[in-house]
Amino acid sequence: MKEQLAGALAAEEAAIWAYGLIGVHLREGSEQNQARAAEDEHRVRRDDLVDRLARLQASTAPTPAGYELPFPVEDRASALKLAVQIEDGVGQAWRVVLPVTENADRTEALSALTDAAVRATKWRKLAKITPLTLIFPGRPTA
């Protein structure tokens, strides 16, 4: 379980980092607010994971000094595309937590997967990417 939780932590860290970059390219107002709210939710999950892993006395990899973007992010369209990709990735990281957890821990992991899928759909709407949903959120596509 530690390994899967560490994976979720890495995904949440990456999401927090990415939203810092995404927000500046979005329209002021509701779009930027949506990015800020998403970043806040990822921070809450990140903090929770740090606590849980500390309780499990698991060592976690340090946050990498830098991330590599999958593509240049320099306008609204690429920022929205990155937001979708980030949320899909967070969903994948949480889905693998489901089989290794039970009860409240599994419920928490399912909330994280579900929230990521819903946020990805919100970003797809703004980006006009169709279909708006994945058939199996969190399932690796490759």
């Binding site: 969903g91 997967l113 990521a116 708006l132 949903t133 058939i135 959120p137």
Partner: protein
Amino acid sequence: MVLTGSVRMSDSGHTRRRVLGASGALAGLVTLSGCGLFDDDPEPAPAPDALQPLLDEALTLAAAHTRVALAQPALAAKLTPLAEAHRAHAVELARVIGTTLPSGGAAPSAATTGADTAAALRKSEQAAQKTAAAACRSAPAERAALVGSIAAARASHAEALR
């Protein structure tokens, strides 16, 4: 008791989906009346798989999306992928349960409940998300990821229908 009830359901010609759609009280009555009358039933049907309600729900939702898409072509582009997703869920659930899907899929006429609007579909997706989330919580490890993805998909469908 439950087993006897399900035998009666098939005797009466209703599909399980329709009976599940009926109120719990009605299902209880059927079960009660079955207890005394059918004690001699030789081979009660095996208990349904815990994921069977999820599979039935997926087929019902697929049919509902298809029906609304046919009635309101302007919504078809949005609803068709959702119907396809539910059918894909049903295929996976059937594989895991070890059952076969009803041939021809769910008839578009199946289980009309409430108004056929995007708002009604959204409510159905939200209710179905709750079913799937509960099923995920109680699922054995090897089923948790699939059922979790289905719960998340249903939540994202509800968002897509906003």
